[in-house]
Symmetry: C2
Subunit: 244 residues, 2 copies
DNA sequence: TCAAAAGTGTTGCGGCTACACCCATGC
DNA sequence: GCATGGGTGTAGCCGCAACACTTTTGA
């Protein structure tokens, strides 16, 4: 039997990209019986859990993700820890935690992960579906506890990592257009890129390979599809380069 | 009264640079009474502590550092967490922990920090002095628990950070020569730099300012001293650039 | 035929690399 | 005067930024 460890939790900032915008998967906190039912139940939080006592931290985060998205092999990165002794001090949120958790609530240090999922391949757990929402990363409302702060830091970490590691592809479908790729970099890094220069640069990268296939179902000239060739990337990678 | 939290610790990888080599500050683990006194007592570990219950994580790490180096304002960065449920499973090390800690030993998740100190300004606590050692970063012996793994990851984090953040200066004295700076980058990143090109590049950086002063006490042409001008750096910093 | 996005080349500038010798100092 | 590291300039190449129009498709 595995006991929950009441001192340590994991929280996951799950990022998704719909081709134009960066989104974060959030969960509606259950409403407490004594809370005013007129208040809309839109109090959101990050997915997360107390860890179990026999479980490695990464495993615990994977568990959260699998249960939520139905996906296996997901990109997952531990990026920070939040352990301020007062981080749970908000009377409403704390009350909720007391009611839903079956353990006495003590100081909880949370290990924060961010995760990158292919939004169109994810397949949320039925029972949770009605309570999960993809929210645009720059329109996150006030969340419980310090979860806003966790997302802010996750975004910083994501931006930093995106410059030097090939993680953008984790957010794109296996076959993607250069426009999607460019949008992704623009929206995450927050600066416009020159389309011609972007394509020139990408054209020189041997790990971005054009497929003998075009997109379809669009009412304009269909774009060439590309894939990211991981093997080639890691074989030819130079030490400190930017990915794109 | 502040209790120790027996579930969460901080460990610090303290880096120092002596002008030529990167070093790590380690502590000799106390010998147990029943251990063979003929075995040299050179079992080393990272400085670290269980956190106290009312203390923020960063505070806790600062406390460890202050006690150890006598320095205040030190560069400190939380870079990872180690929480494998079996990470403390080495019978000798575990026995030591049982004896020295006054608490029942349970699973401990450790928050790992690395820290950068000006080695010549540090002034270790007298009572600890005899038990601390600066060890070259590429000659670390087998340490207790998973501390080797923690150092490996700290080195990775340091290398990554050094490329994009101006943290090298935390390891140098306030006034330093370009040779010291170049050595620092070479030894940490592990590649030789062309001296002329290095100086040309540095010459263009307005946040590296030459002082009206030269080094002295050397038996060769004394080198110009420089300082790092933080304000200028952050005022003129571009988004994603490399520092040097 | 129109709307919408795909796709395409050139030029100038600045930064990067490669490379070898004289200089100032302490002993 | 010798040993030791300090300090300097040039040339070729490559990557980066700036910039506007034609093409292909679905409706």
């Amino acid at each position: 039997m595995t006991r929950l460890n009441p001192h340590i939790s994991v929280d996951c900032v799950i990022f998704g990209f719909d081709g134009a915008n960066l989104k974060v998967l959030l969960i509606e906190r259950e409403k407490l019986p004594e809370e005013n039912p007129d208040i809309p139940s839109d109090i959101l939080k990050l997915p997360g859990n107390l860890i179990s006592d026999t479980e490695d931290l990464d495993e615990s985060a994977y568990r959260v993700l699998r249960e939520l998205t139905g996906l296996d092999k997901i990109f997952l990165k531990q990026f920070s820890v939040f352990g301020n002794p007062n981080r749970l001090d908000n009377s409403n949120d704390l009350e909720w935690l007391r009611v839903t958790s079956e353990l006495p609530v003590e100081r909880v240090v949370t290990i924060a992960y961010y995760s990158l999922v292919k939004i169109n391949e994810s397949n949320p757990n039925e029972s949770l579906l009605s309570r999960t929402k993809w929210i645009e990363a720059n329109e996150i409302p006030k969340l419980i506890f310090d979860h806003n702060q966790i997302i802010d830091k996750a975004l910083d970490a994501l931006r930093k990592e995106l410059r030097t590691e090939p993680i953008g592809f984790e957010l794109l479908p296996k076959k993607f257009t250069l426009r999607q790729l460019q949008n992704l970099y623009e929206v995450i890094l927050g600066n416009k890129l020159d389309n011609r220069n972007f394509r020139k640069k990408v054209g020189k990268l041997d790990y971005l390979v054009a497929l003998p296939e075009k997109e379809n179902g669009v009412n304009h000239k269909p774009a060439q599809l590309y894939k990211f060739d991981k093997k080639t990337f890691y074989k030819t990678r130079k030490d400190a380069g930017f990915v794109i």
